[in-house]
Symmetry: C2
Subunit: 280 residues, 2 copies
Amino acid sequence: MALRDVDEQIRPEDFAGELARASAAHVRGLIRAGEITGHTGGMALGRMQGNLAILPADLALDFARYCQRNPKPCPLVGVSETGDPMLPTLGEDIDIRSDVSSYNIYRDGELADTVTDITDLWRDDLVTFVLGCSFSFEEPLLADGVPLRHLEEGYLVPMYRTNIATTPAGPFSGPIVVSMRPMPMAEAIRAVEVTSRYPMMHGTPIHIAEPAAIGIDDIMQPDWGDVPVIRAGEVPVFWACGVTPQAAVRAAKPPLCITHTPGSMLITDLPSGRPAGHAV
Amino acid sequence: MALRDVDEQIRPEDFAGELARASAAHVRGLIRAGEITGHTGGMALGRMQGNLAILPADLALDFARYCQRNPKPCPLVGVSETGDPMLPTLGEDIDIRSDVSSYNIYRDGELADTVTDITDLWRDDLVTFVLGCSFSFEEPLLADGVPLRHLEEGYLVPMYRTNIATTPAGPFSGPIVVSMRPMPMAEAIRAVEVTSRYPMMHGTPIHIAEPAAIGIDDIMQPDWGDVPVIRAGEVPVFWACGVTPQAAVRAAKPPLCITHTPGSMLITDLPSGRPAGHAV
């Protein structure tokens, strides 16, 4: 998998973009009009951005089960009605056929095309799933003063396949993929406290220290992202990562699956970290 | 709806039962053998007890969507494979055909029968849903010293229909039903802190004080349960309640729906309040 297949690409400059203070609806309007075709990191700060998986209805119940059984890597924040391209539970006037800046079209698990609109591919049997992603995840950590080395140094967060299996559902299975951030143990403990409030952005870490305990042989050889900088006195802290369901969906080889292009997320109207239905 | 239709029936004596310290598997064995046929409140303390809804597969995706969209009244803790009576994500050797002490059989939304085993009713197209319930919900409040009047006084917790609609999915819709516990405002604030850690047991309250704001005209006339005792200086605190999905399922009038008989819950192996998948 190349770097372009990876979502966790927030860079320091993303937090200073001119669209950071724009509303989600404004940014989606620019995307729908074709004026934004790339990366959405740092746009509409404070609004939940989500990973996208569009599947035929005959796989939808299995995928819903997969998300229910694996809430840390697959936090399910929205599901459309079958055949309905709108997502009223995630925001006003969201049309999933046009409101993501770039889509990957997979056929039988293979990337067949990358497009900026899927109106002509839409079918009456498609179901849209939106999963929480880590784009908003680092905001509360930064606000709390937890140091994030990859932002300080300007590298991509490293990701690793673990030896922890997800709980399968129908054709969906595979290992949990984690992202890693190094920090002193006291900060890691604080990071657990902070992220415990955000179950829809992968929640608390799945492991701290001892990479070998989760099947990572060499922390300096990530499967995706950049080689980390780990200083003396620091431990690696591992969070479940959105690459997990992406890999599970591709491995299931559905006849058709449409995802966002990595980095080009759906920007919802929901506050970051708050799932639909938690307003009441 | 009569009192027997209501789950929230914990009484003070439930916390002193001789099966309180038994394992979940031990209690399920007694249920499977027909030695327990009633109420499971207070048994296998510390293990999550769940509400049951078994539906034909053609309604399962809609019901999964309904739970996803309404996590406070409908916290989804487990979903079976289609046609498979076992629930490996919730515990060892759980056979949903025999491991609940009493089942209600609904046909077209009407109660058709109450039985202690559904083996002869099982079909290849049935899907089991298990939802978090409030049986374990009051343990952490009690442990924290939050006063619970209905336990002190020995009455059933009162429940009310609100004017807050759930977010519909397919044929499933209806108002949020709430349970109410009166306490001083300082205790209510603490109760929010405590219950925020238990999203799978209805989580934080949906409203505090001012019953009229959520469509409750007379707090002394609950729709289910007993008339409350509210003392000077206390505010009513309202939590979403498991009667919500029960009412939504019945109103949808599925050809077949099997639920637990109120009070006769599925006892899982999961620690109270921790959903499947949160161990990793």
